[in-house]
């Protein structure tokens, strides 16, 4: 049980970052399916920078910057007329993964410094609890970020502008806001967060760089955003839920229950599909979805 909680927290951190980033992007009315590529690029560049400079935090920052760069590329290509944002996302997914493997080959062997963690298990004498409660700093930052994003989207002028652009492009245009500008910034910020999420994979857990590092977390986070109904706070809980679903398999395996291991891996996808089927309707768009979004039409 404690292993599942600890595992859920570890596994959910990249989900949290990618889903928060995607929420912001989708709130502005764009879908970026390429965040899987951004995540892998973030993992690679974060690891490489941490190895070359010895500073894992610099790695996180560079991973974010690279992610923002990918977001910019997505936004620029999408802002051309008659270009489908979902297709561009798939292209960036291929390109980001390929580029990360291409440039990351030399960094598979050496080991880079890892990110620090906060030992919240000091009160317990049980070593299992201590290990399980070694909370990574990025997870804590992610919680703060979820709260901040919720506040920004709900209660600030910027948040209102982003939501207007995403919900009613004509109204936003009439108010004199640049759709292209707002969407570009939102996609770049989303890419930044996905890059940071990627650096968590290589710099904390599992904590190495190799080509099998991401098992589709970036794509799953897209489903997660739908599950969370575009609400940053829900993103946090759903990330934990997805993380727990992923951690459940190995945890059960460690206590000797090995059958159906792979079926547990499918659980988050089945859950999301079930939720989509349940909440969709041919008569109206998805509840809570920004109405300019291509996937809710």
């Amino acid at each position: 049980m404690i292993a599942v909680v600890g595992g859920a927290i570890r596994v959910s951190t990249p989900y949290l970052y990618v889903s928060l980033g995607e929420t912001l992007t989708e709130k502005s009315g764009r879908v970026n399916l390429g965040l899987e590529g951004t995540l892998v690029m973030g993992a690679m560049s974060g690891y490489a920078i941490a190895y070359l400079t010895g500073s894992p935090w610099l790695g996180v920052l560079v991973a974010g910057a690279i992610g923002a760069g990918f977001g910019l590329l997505h936004a620029v290509v999408c802002s051309l007329p008659r270009v489908n944002d979902i297709a561009v996302g798939i292209a960036l997914f291929l390109f980001g993964t390929g580029l990360a493997f291409f440039l990351g080959k030399p960094y598979i062997q050496p080991s880079a410094p890892r990110l620090p963690h906060l030992a919240l298990g000091w009160w317990s004498s049980s070593p299992q609890i201590r290990v399980a409660l070694e909370i990574n700093a990025l997870f804590v930052a992610g919680i703060v970020l979820a709260l901040a994003l919720r506040f920004i989207l709900a209660s600030t002028r910027w948040g209102l502008v982003v939501r207007t652009v995403g919900d009613n492009a004509d109204a936003a245009r009439a108010l004199g806001y640049s759709l292209r500008g707002v969407r570009t910034l939102a996609t770049m910020a989303g890419g930044f967060l996905a890059g940071v999420g990627g650096s968590f994979l290589s710099l904390y857990y599992p904590g190495t760089w190799n080509e099998g590092l991401s098992s589709g977390q970036g794509l799953m986070a897209i489903a997660l955003v739908i599950f969370a109904r575009w609400n940053p706070i829900h993103c946090f809980w759903v990330s934990l839920l997805f993380g727990a679903a992923t951690a459940l398999g190995p945890a059960l395996q460690s206590i000797g229950y090995t059958s159906n291991y792979y079926l547990f891996n499918a659980a988050p996808y089945v859950l999301t599909l079930g939720l989509l089927v349940w909440s969709s309707s041919p008569r109206h768009a998805l509840l809570g979805a920004p109405s300019e979004l291509t996937i809710s039409k």
């Binding site: 590529g37 599909l273 309707s281």
Partner: protein, 345 residues
Amino acid sequence: MRGAAWAETAAISAAALLAALGVFGGFVALRGLNPLDVYAALVAGGFGSWFSLEETLTQAAPIMLTALCTALPARAGLLVIGGEGALVVGGVATVLAGVNLGGLPPPLAVALMCLAGALGGGLWVGVAGALRHWRGVNETIATLLLNYIAIAVMNHLVAGPIRDFGQVLKPASWAIGERLMIGTIPATGIHWGLVFGVVACVVTWVLMRHTIVGFAVDVVGGNVRAAQMVGLPIGAIVLATTVLGGAAAGLAGAIEVVAVHGFASSSLVVGYGYAGILVAFLARQNPLAVIAVAVLLGGITASGGLLQRRFGLPDAATLVLEGLLFIALLAANTLYGRFRRSSGD
């Protein structure tokens, strides 16, 4: 004026190809290589010798079929990315059919196995089509999720229920046996899957371009309201294109089993489905163009080995080139119609 439209497509595609190759040249130049040498190796590795051509065409065969999985529903206005999952389901269905039909004469058994693969893939993607029509579920997200579910189910099956414990290197399903494997086209090293792929593309093209059904699909894809007004059965068309598209990708899985592996395992999950999406977009959802583009992409993939051996480039180099090509082509979409003086062609 169809000639002008063709010329426009060819010119824009060629420009995008050149742009992608240019950026790719920049990447290899960063590694201290001469881009021109790498281009030459790309051509040599894909098309330079009979041997590399065989490899190219072998790679192209499954991609043609997975491309149809995106291209066919696209004509009805759907963006389906479920080729990878349908291929996996098709492969598993083929194995299940194979171990149960082993007693039949091989040609009949193989035909039934391929049918089972196509049926499996068709039903799998058809689910997304049905959800789209009756529940309004976005087909892109649904097929993306279905890919992961298919892979997880296959991993589950080959790890236990249908595992061949004789295979120790990695979990794999029961083998269908040498007797049920199909060989290569006479006098070549290319398996029969290429014929399946080309025939499927041509049949799809005839169906789409020269039948009333194909025209109806285009109307649904062009304007759903208009299709409703003239009383087209939209649900049936959405369902049919997704089932047929899924069947094509399922057939790709069947061919991978009966012509290459002989069993189902994670070797089915090598990205043919995602490459198919790329090919469908490059071919602008035209089934005949799919054949040519799949061969081009097969050539790029096939030359990966040579790039690795000759220049020490990582095998992901071809993936980078494919990604660049895809981005360049999508961006080039915006150029259509800009070079024509009159819009009324």
